[in-house]
């Protein structure tokens, strides 16, 4: 099948699978929620339609079976207990599996017959009826055939819609309009066809839909427009109206006969149903928002171009020409580039909820497996992140969450003994703070013991007892991130081998972020990941070190200050200062960078410029030669050849065209 359609099929399938996942979960919580059932039904129905269009028979038949079951459920013919829900989930997993098969190999490989048999049994046992494969009457879709060429399925919902909108003297037509082959701007013609039809009747459904016409590329709109129309016009009159439109080559109109008795019965049953239907205001029904799919590479190009624009704007400003209109122009340029930057940044921003939404299901499955009770609370799913960051975060977050369930939350009886609620809580929270995004994974489990971790680290040779003596609790906790800390014996099958905490840390750092731990025995543990808001453009402090200009990203800086030499104290041979009750080690930037200068000369100055930076678990004061200014910089990669230079994360181009290196302060001390 055409590559382009395949990709669209995958994108949309993934979305529907997601909707199904969330909604079945919601259904588990409240089996009576009709809106949720309907959402599930619609999603399955849409999936079936897509699968059928693409020719994936197994998927079509599977979704069809599920659709039937769902229809029974929403007509209150099927009991919804845990078994049934599990069965729905199993069906969903099969759907996911088949879609993945197609993604990987282009073929449907997963066997579905066993499941279908089970599902049939399940239906039989849960409803007292004999489940029949070919379903009759009201679960059948009315096939509207138009001139025997075209078939438009009508779902029960749509049949109800017709019922609601059809007057006594109205006809129901299935219409096929064919445009001339060389017709230009087909989407506009299609629009005019639908517009004309809507003027003389009520369009129940159409293909393409009005939305598709307005949003799709003109190339994707074909020559055929099909729709189901309720109209008072006689067929001949309708035909004339449509032929009046330019470029219409052919019009075929069919009468539609529907069996309305069943539809009416369903309606009556539903409205007299005593079960309450929850309001759908704040439910997990995921609305597929009106969006435009954009190639990520196009966004990247756009980003680069904005970056270039910004650089040149800065260079232009640096010229400081003496001319009246010069300042005006610079001012305008400034405003426009800032706005452009802002907009492009927003386009690249995507709500983190996208990767969060798989977690409830994961936690549910995991806690069942481990026989623990866990409540996952998600906050801040709407927080937006640059899209390139989001993809990378998924695996680390999965690992942290699984860890929390596996190692954090205690068994039910243990929790009871500790006087804790039997249900453990895991809080997954994302929020923006200043120019950073923070993501927290917090559990109320057994907590981490810094001393125990330190002991283990000493055993494994990662550190020595002397070093440990100088460490505070936070630094000891950081041992979990040391490579080689968790061995395969300790990593249970649940948390997974190979994705250790050290990998989590390195992924976070590769995104220019930091990860911190806080923990208290028996109270709980919290991991906090902080990420810079954007990857490519950031605010930085420009400093001079050994006559070269360096940029330190603002999100790594705690504060800047100048100190006098007498404030320098010594603790075990290390220069420190005391800043508002905190002892902060002082290091010479030039020395940390192995630059070829004489070290220690700063002590002879009257005033020493210092930048206090955050290096993961603690603050360090870096002595530099000169504090220059704060400005926005465009982060440029050092390129493939210089991929791993210590303490340097990239470069930026400064006003005069020179290169300034960007310092990576995380491990600088």
């Amino acid at each position: 099948m055409d590559e382009q359609y395949l990709q669209m099929f995958f994108d949309e399938s993934d979305e529907y699978i997601q909707v199904l996942n969330e909604n079945i979960l919601a259904l588990e919580q409240d089996p009576d929620d009709k809106d949720v059932i309907n959402s599930i039904f619609r999603a399955a129905h849409s999936l079936k339609g897509m699968a059928a269009t693409m020719g994936f028979d197994r998927l079509t038949s599977l979704t069809h079976k599920l659709e039937n079951a769902l229809d029974k459920i929403r007509n209150d013919e099927l009991k919804l207990d845990t078994e049934m829900i599990d069965s729905l989930f199993a069906g969903l997993d099969l759907i996911t599996s088949i879609v993945n098969d197609i993604k990987d190999s282009g073929e449907e490989l997963t066997e579905v017959q066993d499941y279908v048999d089970e599902l049939n049994e399940m239906i039989a046992s849960h409803s007292g009826e004999v489940a029949v494969d070919s379903v009759i009457s009201n679960t059948d879709n009315a096939d509207v055939s138009v001139a025997n060429d075209v078939v438009l399925d009508l779902s029960n919902d749509e049949k109800e819609e017709i019922l609601d909108n059809k007057g006594e003297t109205d006809y129901i037509y299935g219409v096929l309009v064919e445009l001339e082959e060389d017709s230009m701007l087909k989407s506009v013609r299609a629009y005019m066809v639908l517009k004309t039809a809507a003027e003389v009747g009520y369009i129940v459904k159409s293909s393409p839909t009005r939305d598709e016409i307005e949003n799709e590329d003109d190339d994707n709109i074909g020559r055929e427009i099909k729709f189901v129309l309720i109209s008072h016009l006689a067929a001949e009159e309708l035909e004339n109206e449509l032929f009046d439109i330019i470029d219409v080559q052919d019009v075929k109109i069919d009468n539609v006969e529907l069996d309305f008795s069943e539809v009416k019965k369903n309606k009556a049953e539903k409205s007299s149903s005593s079960k309450k239907s929850k309001s759908s205001s704040n439910k997990t029904n995921v609305e597929v928002s009106p969006t435009v799919r954009v190639d990520i590479s196009k966004l990247d190009t756009l980003m680069n171009m904005v970056g270039e624009l910004l650089i040149n704007k800065t260079r232009l400003e640096g010229l400081k020409l003496e001319h009246d209109t010069y300042n005006d122009i610079i001012g305008q340029l400034d405003r426009v580039t800032m706005e452009l930057h802002h907009v492009v940044m927003q386009i690249r921003m995507v709500p983190i909820g996208g990767i969060f939404n798989r977690f409830p299901r994961m936690i549910r499955d995991l806690s069942k497996e481990l026989d623990k009770e866990v409540d996952l609370i998600i906050e801040g799913a709407e927080t937006e992140l640059d899209r390139s960051i989001i993809d990378e975060l998924a695996d680390p977050l999965v690992h942290l969450l699984r860890n929390a369930v596996d190692h954090g939350i205690e068994q039910k009886d243990v929790r009871k003994e500790k006087d804790k609620p039997v249900e453990g809580k895991i809080l997954l929270k994302a929020y923006q703070k200043g120019s950073e995004i923070l993501i927290e994974v917090e559990d109320d489990g057994k907590g981490l013991d810094g001393d125990k971790l330190a002991e283990k680290a000493i055993e494994k040779g990662i550190t020595t007892r002397e070093d440990v003596e100088n460490m505070d609790e936070r630094e000891k906790l950081h041992f979990v991130f040391a490579p080689g800390f968790s061995t395969t014996e300790e990593v249970s099958d649940v948390s997974g081998r190979g994705v250790g905490m050290d990998v989590v840390k390195s992924v976070v750092e590769s995104l220019d972020g930091q990860i911190m731990i806080e923990s208290e025995k028996d109270i709980g543990t919290r991991f906090t990941i902080s990420l810079p808001l954007t990857l490519a453009i950031t605010q930085a402090l420009m400093v001079k070190i050994d006559d070269e200009i360096f940029a330190i990203p603002l999100n790594a800086i705690s504060e800047t200050l100048t100190i006098t030499p007498d404030r320098l104290k010594q603790v075990r041979g290390q220069d420190v200062i005391v800043l508002r009750d905190k002892t902060i080690p002082i290091k010479e930037a030039a020395r940390q960078l192995n630059l070829d200068v004489e070290y220690g000369k700063y002590k002879e100055l009257d005033e020493i410029p210092v930048v206090i930076v955050k290096t993961g678990e603690r603050l360090v004061g870096l002595v530099i030669d000169e504090l220059l200014n704060q400005q926005e910089i465009v982060i440029k990669s050092l390129g493939k050849y210089l991929l791993n230079v210590e303490h340097i994360s990239g470069a930026t181009i400064v006003g005069d065209g020179d290169v300034a290196l960007i310092l990576d302060v995380r491990n600088i001390a």
């Binding site: 070269e548 960078l593 390129g639 210089l642 340097i648 181009i653 065209g657 020179d658 290196l661």
Partner: protein, 175 residues
Amino acid sequence: MEAVTVDEKENVVRDDYLNDGMHDNTGNKDQFVVFQLGSEEYGVNISQAKEIIKPKNITNVPNTPEHVLGVINLRGQIVPVVDMKKRFSIELDADTETDSSRIITVEVNDALIGIKVDGVNEVVWLDQDKLEPAPEVAGGVRQEYLIGIGKIEDRLLVLVDLNKILFEDTDEIKN
């Protein structure tokens, strides 16, 4: 054979060798950019060479090997610069920056890198089939890093494999 010079804009010119009416279509010919380090002449395949620029402000990058001089800004792109003499550890008047020093930007292994040389002489055509095998060491460079030796009249060009030279470990390259 007719050698083609580098044009005024210092762009490496691929000459229309086969269509200039002066040469025939025999042999397996390729163009090479000839550069100078000290008194030796070297050549790199023209397909790898992008442009030739006069040395500009190089920003030193800490924690890099000695032969990496730093990076430059090439129309908005950050390009690392490698001092070829230091790479080959040629002990000839190291660090002489003369008027003829140049940086040749090359594309190797999907990376854009600048190599600093004492001078760029010309672009020549060499017949691949007529190259001489490289001796164990030539021009201060060991055999594994060489494609071969090209002969033009009485000149010997040491043809280097940039991929290996730039991307394999340092210490083994030099003599």
